[in-house]
Amino acid sequence: MKYDNRAWLFLVPALAVMALSAFIPLMTVVNYSLHYIFSGSIPEFVGFANFVDVMRDSAFRGALGRQLLFSVSILAVEIPLGIAIALSMPKKGIGVAISLVLLGIPLLIPYNVVGIVWRLFSQSDIGLIAEVLSWVGYEYNVSLDPVDAPVTLFLLDVWHWTPLVALLSYAGYLAIPDAFYRAAEIDGASRWKVFRFVILPKLRPVLVLAFLLRFMDSFKIYAEPLLLTGGGPGNTTTFMSLFVARKAQSYELGYAGAASLIYLFIVIVMSYIFFQLLNKLGSGESQKA
């Protein structure tokens, strides 16, 4: 077999875009992570010392722990809630359009606007949330209370992104051919079994997608905590990207570079593990005959 090397020419534009948008910036970060950088401009090569510093830093571990807790919580709520909404949506008629528009609204609002809207909601003096909670005697204060702030962010994320899971699930749900329900009816399956053995397996591809999208996206959450409380009170809403950005902004470029790479590594590894797990889960491989 003779190869025609001119084929590579066709890849040049794509490779150029990739290089500019991903590869070159990433290499810059790798470069930073291996140096101490004095006054923001004088580098000294230090090997992996920055990585060791990051791993030993309790502030980094704290941010990572908060991040994991946050991502796991929103996934645990958004996925089941999204499926439930999708299954209870009307399948035809005017109701379809209404529910699609209602679900679409949160998705259309940019991150920073969402942050500002919720910041207004959560003002302790004029905010809607504080007002409503005061009726039941709860004193809500997002800028002082270490529980109120992360919980508010959690609610914000659920409000903002559950519709995405619902829309994806709805599309998957509508695509299930009628014959599957008829077969299940003939086979005498209960409603739970229809959900468990017909609907859920058919939704699996879209759920894997929704799960990974929500995991990666929530792991990158930045604008919302920044606008709501600026990462506070204390550092209770300082998640990974906010933490790394703070370090870069304070000219600890070497440290920030190393933290970014560890952060990237965690996201890639966890996404890969989730992807593998979700694809095996319920594929009938582990069943005995």
């Binding site: 051919p177 014959a179 599957f180 008829r182 077969a183 009816e185 003939i186 086979d187 005498g188 399956a189 209960s190 079994k193 468990r196 053995f197 017909v198 859920l200 397996p201 058919k202 319920g282 594929s283 009938g284 491989e285 069943q287 005995k288 005959a289």
Partner: protein, 365 residues
């Protein structure tokens, strides 16, 4: 296992949706009985109502009018499950999240059968379907033909299944696997003596599978009979050209007392007795004859009409000769060794006993 009887069944989807004004009927005036243990085919072009009829038999649709009896018992209002009907769908339906064993065991597990009985029964069914080696394979990973077998397996695993309905089960199966699956279906039907109703628009599938074929056209049953009956004695012109390849030759004609059948500027003779019988129904008929029965000769023969050979299609086993009689094409089947070529003059004769006469699409004699 059951004898299935449909009595004066009509169904309209308009009525189902509540439109009572001028309802369109998907099937009308259906009266048919399928004996227990019979292999039946429902044959007809797309949109003729055969799937509606299948749904009515299976209990997924309640007919607007009429009754469905299983072994003489009225089941019109019963659901598919209560009727013990199994169905194999056009697109293979398997439960992806279970393996083959889990799939076949599913109906029994839902019925609350104990696991030892289930295991025994699943292995029996797998044995019949020759899929024992696949029992541990996830159902989603099977090829379409094996998925259809699993689907059939779920249908026959319940010992009290009344009938198995197959809705164009070979549609998505590649041609090579079709033959094997069709043979398997037939074999299962014969071994287990289940009533099986096979819906298809493919006459070849229908005629090779079924002992009894119901041919449908725009919502009505045209004829129910054995493949031989349909072939030799089509009750309507529709069946004449729908069944058989090529279909029946059909020619507009007029008949007189002398037994002269005139068509397209030429004529041949039939017996005076037959002519007299025909004349009771008028003198304009469409006569039909299967290509197999048209006698073709290169030399002039008695009572033959002449035509010019337009096309010779050699199938290897025989030749299909299209001859033009004036402006009309008549197809006939000629022996492989007959030397005839395009442009030749050929003599065609129509044996009286094989000629069918139709009026308004229905057979007269």
């Amino acid at each position: 296992m059951a004898t299935i009887q449909l009595i004066d069944v009509w169904h309209s989807y308009d009525l189902e949706e509540g439109k009572t004004k001028d309802p369109q009927y998907a099937v009308e005036n259906i009266n048919v009985t399928y004996e227990n243990g019979l292999a039946v085919a429902l044959l007809g072009p797309s949109g003729c109502g055969k799937t509606t009829l299948l749904k009515i038999i299976s209990g997924l649709t309640t007919p607007s009018k009429g009754r469905v009896l299983f072994d003489g018992k009225d089941v019109t209002e019963l659901s598919a499950k209560e009727r013990h009907i199994a169905q194999v769908f056009q697109f293979p339906v398997v439960y992806d999240s279970m393996n083959v064993y889990g799939n076949i065991a599913f109906p029994l597990a839902n019925d609350g059968v104990d696991s030892d009985t289930i295991r025994k029964r699943v292995y029996e069914v797998a044995e019949i379907l020759e899929i024992t080696s696949l029992l541990k394979v996830p159902a989603g990973k099977l090829n379409p033909a094996d998925k259809q077998k699993v689907s059939l397996g779920r249908g026959i695993v319940r010992p009290d299944t009344a009938a198995v309905l197959l809705d164009e089960p070979l549609t998505v199966i590649d041609p090579k696997a079709q033959w094997g699956l069709r043979r398997k279906l037939k074999q299962v039907q014969e071994e287990l003596d289940f009533t099986m109703i096979y819906v298809t628009h493919d006459q070849h599938e229908a005629l090779t599978f079924a002992e009894q074929v119901t041919v449908m056209q725009v919502g009505k049953i045209d004829q129910t009979g054995s493949p031989k009956e349909l072939h030799e004695n089509p009750e309507s012109m529709f069946i004449g050209y729908f069944i058989g390849s090529p279909g029946m030759n059909m020619m507009e004609s007029s008949v007189d007392e002398e037994g002269t059948v005139k068509f397209n500027g030429t004529s041949f003779k039939i017996s005076k007795k037959l002519a007299a019988q025909l004349l009771e129904h008028g003198n304009e008929f469409t006569f039909g004859i299967r290509p197999e029965y048209v006698q073709l000769s290169p030399e002039k023969t008695k009572n033959a009409v002449s035509g010019v050979v337009k096309l010779v299609e050699d199938t290897g086993a025989y030749k299909i000769v299209t001859a033009t009689v004036d402006t009309l094409d008549v197809k006939s089947r000629a022996p492989e060794d007959m030397s005839i070529s395009e442009g030749d003059t050929a003599w065609l004769s129509f044996p009286e006993e094989e000629v069918k006469f139709y009026k308004d699409g229905k057979k007269v004699i």
